[in-house]
């Protein structure tokens, strides 16, 4: 395949599917599904279908705060970095059974998935608001806790097959070990997406909006968008691991969207059915209860590879 063709494929993946052209409407759709599911669980009707889109447009039309100096520049930069890395993570997902183009690998995908939460931590500290700083500290503690489990779960799937290539991982036959890894990933998703019972960094009743407290207007719109893109990327990662292998393109897309939708629904229902845990309970949950299973999964994966 020529270089030009590879460039074309890579651009198509980044900009059209599963990249920006698909991911941005999907992000708004998932944000709506979350709010609607929570509302239905509480016996309400909930927001109209286009709500996240209207919120985004409205925020774009608000006044922009004046920010001076280096910290002001940084505060403007964080949401943009978060959006672009989340969009890049979505673009890397191995949804379509195609070859060629820039493939990337699992390590790049994980780094891009992690970048938005790094940006949130940095944003809270550079805003110098007391609520932002507490929120950032919580986000940092939380990400140290769930990431160990998250990375070990991914690692166990990768180690059992001896590959870091994304498209190779997506075509693996399903095994009990793989399902254990998927369950471990699902346990980490509420913390990654700041949902109940792990919605500590943006705990409204305690620290207002956490790291986002000082953000307004278009910058806040970018944060909302990056949050939606994180939804698409994180649920999409699990969806590509679950989805059965098909050669038809439209069927692959259908499976991807349907499974992502199911995961969003599941997470929202869990979020509305639970209350927020304290930070120390959360940390203990990940380090004491979940870590052991993740370690077991990795050990089993390595053991099976040496036997084979």
């Amino acid at each position: 395949m020529s270089l030009w063709m590879e460039l074309q494929t890579a651009l198509a993946r980044l900009l059209i599917f599963p990249g920006l052209l698909f991911a941005v409407p999907a992000a708004w759709f998932f944000l709506w599904v979350e709010r609607k599911a929570v509302a239905r669980m509480q016996g309400r009707i909930g927001p109209p279908f286009m709500q996240p889109f209207f919120d985004f447009i409205k925020l774009l039309g608000k006044q922009t705060p004046q920010r001076a100096g280096v910290s002001g520049m940084l505060m403007r930069a964080w949401p943009l970095i978060a959006v672009s890395s989340a969009a890049g993570a979505v673009g890397l997902l191995p949804v379509l059974p195609t070859h060629g183009g820039f493939q990337g690998d699992l390590i790049l995908l994980l780094a891009l998935l992690e970048l938005p939460s790094m940006c949130i931590i940095a944003a809270g500290f550079s805003s110098r608001s007391i609520f932002g700083e507490i929120g950032s500290a919580r986000e940092a503690v939380l990400s140290v806790s769930y990431n160990v489990v998250f990375l070990l779960a991914i690692l166990s799937i990768a180690a059992s097959q001896h590959t870091f290539s994304l498209s190779a991982l997506a075509v693996l036959p399903s095994s009990p070990l793989r399902w254990l890894g998927i369950v471990a990933l699902l346990v980490c998703l509420p913390a990654k997406l700041h949902l109940n019972p792990f919605s500590l960094p943006n705990a409204e009743q305690e620290i207002y909006s956490g790291p986002m407290t000082e953000y307004a207007g278009p910058e806040l719109a970018m944060w909302e968008l990056s949050h939606g893109l994180e939804w698409v990327a994180a649920t999409g990662l699990v969806a590509t691991l679950i989805a059965p292998q098909v050669t038809l393109v439209w069927l692959a897309i259908l499976f991807f969207v349907a499974i992502s939708f199911g995961i969003v629904l599941l997470l929202s229902v869990v979020a509305s059915a639970t209350a927020r845990l304290q930070i120390d309970t959360t940390v203990r949950f990940y380090w004491q209860c979940t870590l052991i299973f993740a370690v077991l999964a990795v050990a089993a994966a390595l053991f099976m590879r040496y036997r084979a």
Binding site: R35, A39, Q42, G43, R44, I45, G46, P47, P48, M50, Q51, F53, F54, D55, I57, K58, L60, G61, K62, Q63, T64, P65, F131, E204, I207, Y208, S209, M212, T213, E214, Y215, A216, G217, L220
Partner: protein
């Protein structure tokens, strides 16, 4: 460009984010604000979201008769909300200082300090009246954009006591007229 303006106006009308501020209220109106977001009234159908930070808000809901301590805070918070913004005074206290009138601990009513767009009278007002006030404020905000606020709107008591069009109150009004 015209299409963009129309879309912006429509979005502003359909996505009012609230910040709730208590300026010495007895908590009666505050409970009714929460009730308007609860399953029975469900203001989220209009796109309403109660925000934790005034930076995120479009509409400032103020309850209470504005005490000495609250006056400076109200001006600060009003300045922290980025435009286009609107203010809704919930209850009779911010409109007239209500039963606390002539008290030496007050600096009310509210419109001595910040421009108010909609007054929702009542002690406390019903949740439907609060939702009506927020919806009117969102309309005002969408039409006005970043221009400075004009005169304020008082929701008539009859309308405030009544829910949206087509409810039982309409029938009662007709009975009275007959």
């Amino acid at each position: 460009m015209k299409l963009w303006d129309k879309l912006m106006c429509y979005s502003r009308r359909h996505s009012p984010w609230l910040f709730h501020m208590n300026s010495g209220s007895c908590n009666g109106c505050d409970i009714e604000i929460v009730a308007s977001l609860s399953p029975r009234y469900d203001a989220e159908q209009l796109g309403v979201r109660l925000e934790g930070s005034p930076r995120h808000a479009d509409i400032l809901l103020v309850t209470g008769p504005v005490t000495h301590n609250a006056a400076a805070a109200i001006r600060t918070v009003y300045g922290q909300v980025y435009g286009p913004k609107a203010v809704v005074a919930i209850g009779s206290c911010p409109a007239t200082t209500n039963v606390f009138i002539d008290s030496r601990t007050l600096e009310g009513p509210l419109d001595k300090h910040i421009p108010v767009d909609v007054f929702v009278p009542g002690c406390p007002p019903r949740p439907d009246a609060i939702i009506l006030g927020v919806a009117k404020a969102a309309e005002i905000l969408a039409e006005r954009g970043n221009k400075p606020p004009a005169e304020s709107l008082m929701i008539p008591i009859a309308e405030a006591a009544c829910c949206a069009e087509g409810c039982a109150c309409e029938a009662k009004k007709e009975e009275v007229q007959a």
